[in-house]
Amino acid sequence: MKRVYVNEKWCLGCRLCEYNCAFANSGMTDMVKALNNVTINPRIKVEKANGISFAVQCRHCKDPICVRACIAGALHLDEDGVIRIDDTKCVGCHSCVMACPYGAIMPSQKGVMQKCELCLQNSSKEPACVKGCPNHAIVYEER
């Protein structure tokens, strides 16, 4: 399946991916309206240390530990390979957050957990982080 990959060689740490992610998942049509005076809570996070930067989001593992760790059956691996969360079932126990080795699941403002679902069902229709990356450091491809 096509996944989002990051090449740290080209990641500038500009954090545009975080803002594009937050906007894509805001449900709004204007970035200013969606993000002005808001502390964003994106599903992709840029990690920086010693001059290296790297954007991290869900790897969509083939054998996902988070799904196994979910006590409520809210996380599931769909047939298309995408791991999605059903926020009507999530009880906010943080088990998945603890289990994910990449730190790619985090609580949302609503109290339930959120994660990258590749923007396939939001307004972007394709990963917004990839579309907006100014240096093609983030790619969406089959490997």
Binding site: R15, Y19, M31, L35, P134, H136
Partner: protein
């Protein structure tokens, strides 16, 4: 503190209603113009540091930024302009030679813009490049004087070494050091994909790029930086740089801060030392010396590579070119006074040299008058800005064009003309690793390929319009050009008629 006489030229205008404080502008500005004030919870800017490179403007996700010319002004004076006054203040402050980058920005005549191209009507059909072959393949190099046939009447191939280009455009010299590794990789990969050539400039060739040798012109300049036997034999051609359009009469200067470990290894000079190439080649004080260097390089490369001699367009360019055409050189490259540079003294850049259009016209004519035009090919550069400029240059008599500023623009350059500061926000004219990584060669090479392919399409459209289906039939075809608003003398030098004639 002494009074600061230098006022910022630009204002950073931020639409606070649109700013979402993502701080991309802040983290992308190597000049440290932008900062976030956590008390006020707004982005602020320090305009004294802004060079107007547009990195922040281009990356702002909500388009909240623009850079405008400051309307702060001195009392109006047509003679003592703000630029003239500011220069005085700078020099009174520093006692230094004023430095600038990229080509001459002064409002001197651009002859390309006063030349118009012909098209066929009625007596001769235009040709449609989408439906008929339209050829742009170009060979550069000296042509044999005589045709030799063997006993059975077959022509013997007695061609001196040639360069073959898919389209008559090449990337001109920019050294590794003045521009980044990634910029070089972008140029090398694009040239290879396009079937054209790029040029190492006087900075040697990084070992990683030897594989692009068949599409590389290696340059030998007065500093001899990075020149060795492998270097000479790796390229498709060897260029002797006698001069550069942006700074005729002086050598190059790469500041020590750009001479990083990798650059120092490639140039074969100590790390951190200023790389200063002399004004002349100290083994060339006249034309007969040039001939010796041409043949030394041919000897070193087994007579397999064409030798290019690059000169700046200066007043007596025609006789200089005539001398070079008899020196054994295969190709003459002429760089006009609007050509770019990574660093040049401002006064030289803006006041020395002549326009490439006039230089080209007069050189082509002189070589023909002397019957030696076939001895050499002519390549011209020094602000070729579009496919139309290429068409006009070829119709004036060039075999091919060199572009560099245009190529850098394709890579993201916004002509802020601050290359000499080494803080290029677009990752081009810098060696700082956090900045050079901003130019991903996957992206850069593709953009260069796009540019040259687009220009080639346009060249074909214009050729087709003229009823010409092969680029060689355009070369020197000055009847295809007309001047507008030019004096009799200018028309005479350009060898073209006025529109309406």
């Amino acid at each position: 503190m002494a009074i600061n006489f230098i006022e910022p030229l630009y204002e950073v205008v931020r639409n606070q209603d649109r700013c979402i404080k993502c701080r991309v502008c802040e983290n992308q500005c190597s000049n440290e113009v932008h900062r976030y004030d956590s008390d006020l919870k707004v982005m602020l800017s320090d305009e004294t540091k802004c060079v107007n490179c547009h990195r922040c403007v281009a990356l702002c996700p909500t388009k909240a930024l623009k850079i405008v010319k400051s309307d702060n002004c001195f009392k109006e004076n047509a003679n003592w302009t703000q630029a003239n006054m500011t220069s005085i203040y700078k020099q009174a402050d520093t006692a230094g030679v004023l430095l600038s980058s990229m080509g001459n920005p002064e409002p001197l005549p651009v002859y390309w813009d006063k030349i118009l191209i012909n098209a066929s009507q009625v007596t001769n059909p235009p040709i449609d490049p989408l439906r008929e072959p339209m050829e742009t393949r170009t060979f550069l190099g000296a042509k044999p004087k005589d045709i030799v046939k063997d006993k059975s009447g077959n022509i013997v191939n007695n061609l001196p070494p040639q360069l073959e280009l898919s389209t008559p455009i090449m990337f001109s010299a920019m050294s590794y050091g003045s521009i980044s590794y990634n910029a070089h990789e972008s140029l090398a990969r694009a040239a290879t994909e396009l079937g054209i050539l790029y040029n190492t400039g006087e900075g040697g060739l990084h070992e990683d790029f030897y594989k692009y040798g068949p599409n590389t012109i290696v340059q030998v300049a007065s500093g001899r930086f990075g020149v060795n036997k492998d270097f000479l034999n790796t390229g498709a051609a060897i260029e002797i740089k006698m001069g550069q359009g942006a700074k005729p009469g002086i050598g190059g200067h790469l500041p020590g801060q750009k001479v990083t470990a990798d650059v120092s290894k490639t140039r074969m000079i100590p790390e951190g030392s200023d790389a200063i190439s002399p004004a002349p080649h100290h083994d060339i004080y006249s034309i007969e010396d040039l001939r010796q260097l041409v043949y030394s390089l041919k000897e070193a490369s087994d007579y397999k590579k064409p030798v290019i001699v690059k000169i700046a367009a200066v007043h007596n360019v025609a006789v200089i070119a005539s001398g070079i055409a008899r020196s054994g050189a295969d190709i003459i490259a002429i760089d006009g006074f609007r050509g770019g540079t990574g660093a040049a003294p401002t006064r030289i850049r803006d006041n020395v040299g002549i326009p490439i259009e006039l230089a080209l016209a007069t050189v082509d004519k002189r070589l023909r008058d002397e019957g030696i035009r076939d001895n050499v090919s002519l390549v011209v550069g020094g602000s070729i800005r579009s496919s139309a400029d290429v068409v006009k240059a070829i119709a004036l008599g060039a075999d091919a064009c060199y572009i560099a500023t245009g190529a850098l623009l394709a890579l993201g350059c916004h002509l802020c003309r601050s290359c000499h500061l080494g803080r290029c926000n677009w990752g081009i004219a810098t060696q700082r690793p956090d900045l050079t990584k901003r130019l991903n060669p996957d992206v850069g090479s593709q953009r260069l390929v796009n540019l040259i392919e687009a220009w080639t399409h346009e060249i074909k459209e214009m050729m087709g319009g003229m009823g010409i289906n092969s680029i060689e039939a355009l070369r020197g075809n000055r009847l295809m050009l007309r001047g507008v608003g030019l004096t009799e003398k200018e028309l005479e030098i350009l060898g073209i008629k006025h529109a309406g004639e």
